[in-house]
């Protein structure tokens, strides 16, 4: 099969469409997560989401939408905990992180029959994307784009200087909740693509590369979206030809690109 033929196969087209919309959502949210120092919190939401996967399989509900609702709840809980400066917050996030995962595993153990798809939620599988999944992905991506567009300046002020945001009369609490919900949105989309264990990499690697080249926050967002699309496309192609897991191959592509950029930079600096 040539490369062109691969793209004409039905499952590959769906995989790419889902990948593009996930790229847009997490390309927008990733820079905000990194700048807000919320990578650990994003990790907590994504791993806790496994509880939602387990719940869906246990009750026989549709996995994508059940996980989405479940993650919204987790995000709301984490948002209400992080809104105050609690000193034990890292411990609590860690607890939600691991408790969510163990809940998912136990519910799966209790689920009737053997479910071969378990691994696909941990490490991603674009191959099993359904039409319904794609519709939800489009809705989620649009939600993230519109919400970020509406509150872009407010988010910028909040990230840059929270006290100043409060003094300016910005509704900091409302924004905090909105932001956590958006993080949950993009995480659930990413679970399909790379799996919940690899979500953090997808949110951070493009941002690190983009920060090296971009001199404004808006450009970092655009560049992150493009890099995500690039990594997902190339990762999918590599995984198809070499028969590797899609999620891991996508992240490997991203990691190698990041290392390449970093070493090239060091090399150029030395020879200047």
């Amino acid at each position: 099969m040539t490369l062109i033929d691969v793209f004409y196969t039905g499952f590959m087209q769906k995989a790419l469409i889902a990948g593009v919309f996930a790229s847009i959502a997490c390309g927008i949210i990733g820079p905000l997560v990194v700048a807000n120092r919320m990578v650990f919190i994003a990790g907590g939401i994504s791993h806790a989401a496994y509880g939602g996967v387990g719940l869906a399989l246990f009750l026989g509900l549709p996995v994508f939408s059940t996980t989405l609702v479940y993650s919204f709840l987790i995000a709301l809980i984490i948002a209400s905990l992080t809104i105050k400066n609690i000193s034990d917050i890292e411990m609590i996030i860690g607890l939600i992180w691991s408790a969510g995962m163990s809940l998912g595993i136990i519910l799966m153990d209790l689920s009737p029959g053997y479910n071969a798809d378990i691994m696909s939620y941990l490490f991603g599988s674009l191959i099993v994307v359904s039409n319904f999944d794609i519709i939800i992905s489009v809705i989620l991506a649009l939600t993230v784009i519109i919400t970020t567009g509406l509150f872009y300046n407010q988010f910028l002020v909040l990230i840059y200087d929270k006290d100043f945001a409060i003094v300016s009369g910005i509704n900091v609490k409302l924004l905090h909740f909105i932001f956590n919900i958006m993080v949950a949105c993009s995480i659930v989309m990413l679970i399909r693509v790379v799996g919940l264990i690899l979500v953090i990499a997808m949110l951070t690697i493009p941002v690190y590369i983009a920060s090296i080249f971009c001199s404004s926050f808006f450009r970092i967002i655009i560049f992150s979206v493009l890099l995500n699309i690039l990594f997902i496309f190339s990762g999918l192609i590599f995984s198809y030809y070499f028969n590797l897991s899609t999620g891991a191959t996508i992240i490997a592509t991203g990691t190698i690109s990041l290392l390449f950029v970093m070493f090239t930079r060091i090399f150029i600096k030395k020879h200047e």
Partner: protein
Amino acid sequence: MQNPIEVKNLWFRYEKAWILEDINLTVPERDFIAILGPNGSGKTTLLKLLLGILSPDKGEIYIFGKKPQNAFKHLGYMPQRLFHSLNFPVSVMDVVLMGKIKAHQIGGFYSNKDRNDAENILKQLNLWELRDRLMTSLSQGQRQRVLIARALVSSPDILFLDEPTSNIDERGKSGFFELLKELNKNITIVVVSHDIGVISKYVKSVACVNTKLFHHAKPDISREMLLTAYGSVLESCCNLELLTHDTPHKIYSLDKSDIK
């Protein structure tokens, strides 16, 4: 006309111990008040209460007769430093426009008027040439001027500054306070500082905070004021270095035997 700041029987604590006890303070129109005190005295906490960032446990705060949270149109705030955001890629212009955010409660972009106002304030503070530079590429002094511009661009009635001169050299400090003196012709200014030196030449009144507050109408840095503000910590570590050299006759007379 109501007073810009009115504080009545204010009590505040983070945990068990009271950080501020029974604070009463009235700041009249066009006052230039310095809130002085050593580290941990509660002066920054008081500032955050006045700005509505924190809420009092007991007592009341009024900004032009309104609660601080509802008075944000009157407030301009220059923070001491931006701790978390050193690598954040924003230009000088972006930061100054942040001061205009209050006009946009939900979404939208900055208007041409916002940009004109930002341009005017940048020119006024001699920062116009730096407008496209990233904040990360500026010196401490320049960054502080940008933060002042951000606080002023919304034309506030009260300007709050938290340790504005902590990273500026002696000559820079005088220039900085000359600027504040000029601004003070139109607006009320509140400066939090642990640096009594240069400030004493410019301010109209002084509030010494060390859990309790002592308000002095005239900026006459007296021995009792220093003792109230710094006395308790002189024992463990000498804070006299913090008081710079503009009022040496008042500082050198202090030693440990004096305090007891």
